[in-house]
């Protein structure tokens, strides 16, 4: 800072800052701020909500976290290029239907006979991949391909036709949701094969607290901690982190988010990167669809409807990824998702109605957006 005078980073309004304040600032701007906040929140509420720290509840919080994390990781990429992807929820619903209709082992005409897929794709004997060896892998490939296609379409409309991301993904959301509902006439597709369901339920490390009185411990007293969804989500998050921070592609994502014009003039393949980012976002939504539908043991067209979008964008923004682009970290999103899931969980434990819960969540998201503005200002030293 040898040219001190113009260093905008330091042109805060205040005269020399006391060290307490500086320390508070550093904490506020730290990568782990939201984690600290979550832990503080947890500790404060513990005396009032005795069930909060039960192993069962913690296992529950974790299992709610993983699918949301996967989807939010995709959103992190999009927000970092100063975009937004509203279509993720519809991709979750749609691809869950795609997977289920391919994999269902049997289906009931009472439920699905009105659906356009009845008789062509799915029958009383299930879907085309029912009982086929490796069918689950094929179904997942098809789901990912379908998701990727939707994401690429979003990206192409945004990058090549220069349409605003908000508009494009809003339309995609409406169209793809409608398509998913139309395909099953709003019914769920059940009877998924065990090997698929295992992806959402299988545990690797489970714990039991207490004496072993009986020869068999009842299932509900065993709490899953390390599960397949956890492995999948953590793997996705690590890959995403590497992609965003350690590759050429990641650098270009940030460059576009900070200054698209300058990036273009410096030879960044802007259009290609944008298409790829929206494709990644939709693929993440598809992986989220696998985790949600295996947990539900059904393909459901409305899986990502309602306030799902609020959860995804809310969790990402709470983590600290900026809505203005150019600033995003996967680790922030991990903490943001943790905080958001914890928040929902505590509100549930307080026996609030879902309306109240949404009101609180909404308020928290506005607060997070405000924090984002504040942090951006602090970093840029915008004095006004």
């Amino acid at each position: 800072m040898n040219d001190g005078g113009l260093s905008a980073a330091h042109s805060a309004r205040e005269t020399p800052v006391p060290s307490m304040r500086q320390r508070a600032m550093r904490l506020f701007l730290s990568d782990f701020f939201v984690l600290y906040l979550s832990l503080a929140y947890f500790l404060v509420l513990m005396p009032f909500l005795p069930t909060l720290s039960n192993p069962a509840n913690i296992a529950n919080i974790l299992s709610n976290m993983w699918p949301l994390l996967v989807v939010a990781v995709g959103q992190t990429f999009v927000l970092t290029i100063a975009g937004i992807d509203l279509s993720q929820g519809s991709v979750v619903g749609f691809t869950s239907v795609v997977g289920a209709m391919l994999l269902a082992t049997t289906a009931s005409p009472d439920v699905l006979s009105n659906a356009p897929i009845w008789g062509t794709i799915i029958t009383e004997n299930g879907g085309p991949l029912a009982g086929v060896p490796g069918g689950v892998a094929i179904a997942i490939l098809v789901m990912v391909a379908a998701g990727a296609l939707i994401g690429a379409a979003n990206g192409i409309a945004i990058a090549h036709f220069q349409m605003p991301p908000f508009m494009v993904t809003l339309v995609t959301m409406i169209v793809i949701s409608a398509l998913a509902i139309y395909l099953t006439q709003s019914e769920n597709i059940r009877n998924l094969p065990e090997s698929y369901i295992q992806l959402g339920k299988g545990d690797i490390v489970s714990v039991y607290f207490g004496e072993q009185d009986e020869s068999r411990i009842p299932r509900r007293q065993i709490h899953s901690f390390v599960t397949y969804p956890m492995l999948i989500a953590v793997t996705v998050a690590i890959c995403a982190h590497v992609l965003l921070n350690r590759t050429v592609f990641g650098r270009q994502v940030f460059a576009i988010g900070i200054n698209r014009k300058a990036a273009k003039i410096s030879g960044v393949p802007v259009k290609r990167v944008i298409v790829l980012v929206f494709t990644i976002s939709a693929i993440c939504a598809t992986v989220g669809a696998i985790l949600y539908s295996t947990r539900l043991e059904a393909g459901r067209p409305t899986l990502g409807d309602g306030n799902f979008l609020l959860d995804v964008i809310g969790a990402t923004v709470i983590g600290g990824t900026s809505l203005f682009g150019g600033k995003g970290k996967i680790i922030w999103t991990v903490f943001g998702v943790f905080f958001f899931v914890l928040l929902s969980n505590t509100l549930n434990l307080m026996n609030l109605s879902s309306f109240h819960i949404d009101m609180v969540k909404g308020t928290v998201i506005v607060a997070a957006a405000l924090l984002d503005v504040l942090r951006t200002r602090l970093i840029q030293g915008d004095a006004l």
Binding site: D3, A9, P16, V248, V268, G326
Partner: protein, 505 residues
């Protein structure tokens, strides 16, 4: 004469680092005072304190003898301070009258009193000799006219102290002359003017006295009369500068490196042809709207070209920006904030942006972080970029000259064959200017071609082998170094047909 504004031991620290210190100075009422200094000398901080944007850490300011400590920009405005900024703060979608009254519309019976607005605006425009209708939308005005609207706004608010911050950077010479007349008139009306500029010739011509800042301190306050440009520079940088321009270290070769033939783009370019030789610096001079920057954008593949041929080392140039970069073309745009830099990213990211793909086997493979940091560190040292931690400090925090070096530096990680520099020294202090010229010279000496676009004729005649002049999308003149003549070049820039044409390129 009384002092309008005075400072006593004024100091401003940013996190313990002084940006302005021990500043004791008086500004007399009715004077035009030039404020000069290198980027980072403390000019902006001083202005921010006067304008109520930041509060001093110590010392005091007095306004007509009374303590003056504005708590906000609106405090300063109320007291009679007005800023005319580099980037104008007008609403381009509103009319002149609406802009002038934007923060207090006169009302009558609860409705906006348009008649009163128009009359007052017409009065103000007449004072400033701006002959346009009060209901004209600001977006239809030229940069010079917009600036006059800003001044009208200041007059409307009864400003006593008008601060001009690099006001001429986007003006044509004619508009600049008009601005100076306006400033003279403001002075005659008893207004006090602070005039901040890097164009020292203007400061000398316009100002009554000159204040020089260096490292946050006052180093000189002189009558403009008898304070010549070389003395100003010596005071600003604290040593004598050998010359304003480096000696060219090699002569251009006779091989044609780049050639443009018959470039046509309706409304922008008309049949523009020129060559650049290896090792040559070709200057391009023209006024705003002459098509000089537009042509640079076309050559770089940013904007479409309807007709014409571009070749670099015999190979036709086609495709978009990426193809041009791959062929060895580099482009420093005139607007470094909007198009040159990732302001919130650190120096490392900015310097490596162009060649980032060379640091990973594929775009999805691991970056070679160590090599990347080594290369950028090397470049930083070589270009003498003054920055803190280049991995964390955002380039926003660098001074203008260092920012510009970063923009240029990102193209130097690979030696470009054709380097297009569009106003590379705009808003850059004297020391950094010299270094930028030296870079252009080094590139040319290494066999590259440089297209140097500038509206400062002096630097073109100082640095270039040849100068090409454009007016309204056409080439109106070409000059060899031996024929450089400011008068002729300016005449052609204004569209006068050449009497004796220079040597054809």
């Amino acid at each position: 004469m009384t002092e309008l504004l005075s400072f006593e031991g004024l100091r401003k620290d940013y996190f313990g680092v002084p940006a302005v210190r021990d500043l004791t100075l008086g500004i007399r009422k009715g004077e035009v005072v030039g404020v000069i200094g290198e980027n980072g000398a403390g000019k902006s901080t001083l202005m921010n304190m006067i304008g109520g944007v930041v509060a001093p850490s110590a010392g005091e300011m007095r306004w007509l003898g009374a303590l003056y400590h504005p708590r906000s920009p609106s405090d300063a405005t109320a007291r009679g301070v007005a800023f005319i900024h580099q980037e104008l703060n007008l609403f381009t979608n509103l009319t002149i009258a609406e802009n002038i009254f934007v923060d207090d519309f006169p009302s009558r019976f609860g409705l906006i009193d348009r008649t009163a607005m128009r009359q007052r605006t017409a009065d103000l425009l007449r004072q400033l000799a701006l002959d346009v209708a009060t209901e004209t939308d600001v977006e239809k005005l030229t940069p010079g006219e917009r600036q006059l609207v800003e001044i009208a706004k200041a007059l409307h608010r009864d400003a006593e102290l008008i601060i001009f911050d690099e006001p001429t950077t986007s003006l044509t010479p004619r508009e600049t002359a008009k601005l100076f007349e306006t400033i003279e008139r403001l002075k005659a009306d008893g207004k006090t003017i602070l005039y901040i500029s890097h164009i020292l010739g203007d400061v000398k011509r316009l100002c009554d006295s000159v204040v020089v800042l260096r490292d946050g301190q006052l180093v000189a306050q002189e009558k403009a009369e008898g304070f010549d440009v070389p003395d100003m520079i010596t005071a600003m940088i604290g040593r004598a500068l050998g010359g304003l321009y480096p000696e060219r270290s090699a002569a251009p070769s006779s091989d044609i490196l780049f050639s443009a033939k018959g470039l046509c783009q309706p409304g922008i370019l008309e049949d523009v042809s020129f060559d650049i030789h290896a090792g040559e610096i070709l200057g391009l001079f023209g006024l705003m709207g002459s098509g000089r920057s537009e042509m640079a954008r076309i050559v770089f593949g940013l904007d479409p070209l309807e007709q014409g041929e571009l070749t670099l080392q015999g190979n036709p140039l086609s495709g978009g920006v990426r193809a041009r970069i791959a062929s060895g073309v580099a482009f420093v745009t005139e607007d470094r904030r909007a198009e040159g830099l990732l302001m919130d990213a650190p120096t490392v990211d900015n310097l490596s942006l162009v060649s980032i793909e060379e640091f990973g086997r594929t775009s999805l493979a691991f970056l070679d972080q160590a090599r990347l940091e080594q290369s950028t560190e090397h470049l930083k040292t070589e270009m003498v970029i003054k920055a803190g931690d280049i991995r964390t400090q955002p380039v926003r925090a660098l001074s203008g000259g260092n920012q510009q070096k970063v923009v240029i530096g990102k193209w130097l990680m690979r030696q470009p064959d054709l380097f297009i520099l569009d106003e590379p020294t705009r808003g850059v202090d004297v020391g950094a200017k010299f270094e930028i010229y030296a870079i252009a010279d080094r590139l040319a000496a290494a066999g590259s071609g440089v297209l140097f676009i500038s509206s400062e004729l002096e630097e073109l005649t100082g640095m270039c082998d040849r100068i090409m002049v454009m007016n309204r999308g056409e080439v109106t003149g070409r000059f060899d170094r031996s024929d450089f003549s400011d008068r002729d070049i300016l005449a052609m820039a204004f569209g006068k047909k050449p009497e004796t044409n220079g040597v054809a390129a």
